[in-house]
């Protein structure tokens, strides 16, 4: 009997991704429940970013299946990308365009003509709306990248180390925003910031060598730190 009638926002079955001879992901099974926040921890090269890029449809799996809302990706077509927002290591913002021009461009790309003002307000960049993106600081750029990813109100938000480059206030603001949208939006987040990650997470996983080494709900920050150290020792 299925106790959870809501299909997962994103799921992967026996997912493998190879780059030449090396495998970034090795037959992993993964599920992100709708409206929940799932945080991925792991060392650099563990496969976290690869999983996010596959979930974002920017990488094709070598084998395995992926599902969005219970439907196979192949059956959903291009429209599935309307559900997805991605904050990557790169901002996806055009340096020669202004802050507001970038937001307007991405709104048009998603067939919408509103949301820029709200995004500017959240990113705290109203006073810099006519500044070229090239002139923004790293923290401002990161806030704008998050605002861009949320512009079309995705139901699946993917964030790859979003706290990188943010000051304490901006990090708090981002955590608050993510807590606010949780429920409506499923969040898959990778981070090395254990405290912030655990505070947000409904579920955590630790990836190591392309496999899920640990997966649980309710783990504390100290448990995660201990597990990360143990996994590192075993991997040596």
């Amino acid at each position: 009997m299925n106790l959870n009638p809501v299909p997962p926002a994103f799921a992967a079955r026996r997912l493998t991704k190879r780059f030449g001879r090396s495998s970034a992901l090795k037959e992993i099974d993964f599920e992100l429940e709708a409206g929940r926040c799932h945080v991925l921890f792991g060392r650099n090269g563990a496969g976290k970013s690869t999983l996010l890029l596959i979930a974002a449809t920017l990488l094709r799996p070598s084998s395995g299946e992926i599902f969005y809302g219970g439907d196979r990706y192949e059956t959903l077509g291009d429209e599935v990308r309307r559900r997805i927002g991605l904050v990557s290591h790169q901002s996806f913002l055009y340096p020669d365009l202004t802050v507001v021009e970038n937001l307007q461009f991405y709104a048009r790309l998603y067939g919408s003509s509103s949301g820029e003002e709200e995004a500017l307000l959240w990113a705290d960049l109203e006073l810099r709306r006519h500044s070229p993106v090239r002139s923004l600081s790293r923290g401002m750029l990161q806030r704008l990248a998050v605002a861009r990813a949320l512009l079309h109100r995705p139901t699946l938000l993917l964030l790859d180390e979003p706290y990188t480059g943010l000051d304490v206030v901006s990090s708090e603001r981002l955590s608050t925003r993510l807590s606010d949208i949780k429920g409506e939006t499923a969040i898959l987040l990778t981070t090395h910031d254990v405290d912030r990650g655990v505070a947000l997470a409904d579920r955590i996983s630790i990836l190591e060598g392309g496999r899920i080494a640990f997966d649980a709900t309710g783990a504390t920050a100290s448990e995660v730190r201990r597990l990360l150290l143990e996994i590192r020792e075993i991997a040596k």
């Binding site: 974002a56 449809t57 920017l58 990488l59 094709r60 291009d78 429209e79 599935v80 990308r81 309307r82 997805i84 991605l86 990557s88 790169q90 901002s91 996806f92 913002l93 055009y94 340096p95 020669d96 365009l97 021009e101 461009f105 991405y106 048009r108 790309l109 998603y110 067939g111 861009r148």
Partner: protein
């Protein structure tokens, strides 16, 4: 979602970026003028030789200059990995190709509008006197087909080259051999139009141009999604 909003958004964004930076059109224009100048001062053509060689020189200037612009076209998508942002749009990924294609055609056309009068002056070829109104219309058709054909193959090869570390070198190496039918077709049909022999007809070469432009567009539409994926 249909492709049109994404195509128009990309075209509009590229035009806005170009208006702000003026990098693409200005570099294409300067390069085309330099090519014309070099040929003008090295060949010393009289009117008859100018009719024979001028069309080839004109198209060499156009395609060399256009290659500079095509390189820049995907370079701006590489900064901050904006291409991934475009790939996240809920539209067929071929709409990225058509958006970039339209902006490349627009920028090449603007460059040609500025370069053509200089060609007339440098080579003392009065196109308006040399060509009848119908031939003039055919000449503009050749310009259009040559531009569309070269941009069609250039846009997809620029996307291929953009994913490599030697982008600036790779694009001409890939593009020049593949675009030979377009360049020859455009140069030959222009030469036959300029030719005073009443029996010369450019239409066989115009058909070649049309066929290659359509083939390049079709193949690019089919393959673009695979080209831009890592």
């Amino acid at each position: 979602m249909s492709s049109y909003p994404a195509i128009l958004a990309i075209l509009r964004k590229d035009v806005r970026t170009e208006v702000r930076t003026r990098q693409m059109i200005s570099s294409m224009f300067v390069f085309a003028v330099l090519v014309l100048l070099v040929f003008n001062f090295t060949l010393f053509l009289d009117e008859i030789r100018a009719i024979e060689l001028g069309p080839g020189i004109l198209w060499v200037a156009f395609v060399f200059a256009a290659t500079l612009g095509l390189n820049r076209s995907f370079a701006i998508e590489g900064e901050n990995r904006c291409l991934s942002g475009l790939m996240m749009a809920p539209a067929p990924r071929s709409s990225i190709y058509f958006g970039k294609l339209l902006s490349n055609i627009l920028f090449m056309t603007v460059m040609e509008i500025f370069v053509l009068p200089l060609f007339v002056v440098f080579f003392n070829l009065s196109i308006w006197e040399l060509l009848s109104p119908s031939e003039l219309a055919t000449f503009f058709l050749v310009l259009l087909l040559g531009t569309v054909g070269y941009a069609a193959v250039g846009t997809i090869l620029a996307a291929v080259a953009a994913n490599t570390t030697m982008r600036e070198v790779l694009l001409p190496v890939l593009l020049f051999p593949v675009s030979v039918p377009i360049v020859i077709g455009a140069a030959e049909s222009t030469r036959l139009l300029f030719d005073v022999d009443p029996l010369s007809s450019p239409w066989i070469w115009i058909r070649v141009l049309l066929v290659f432009a359509v083939v390049f567009l079709f193949v690019s539409w089919l393959t673009f999604e695979y080209v831009i994926e890592e």
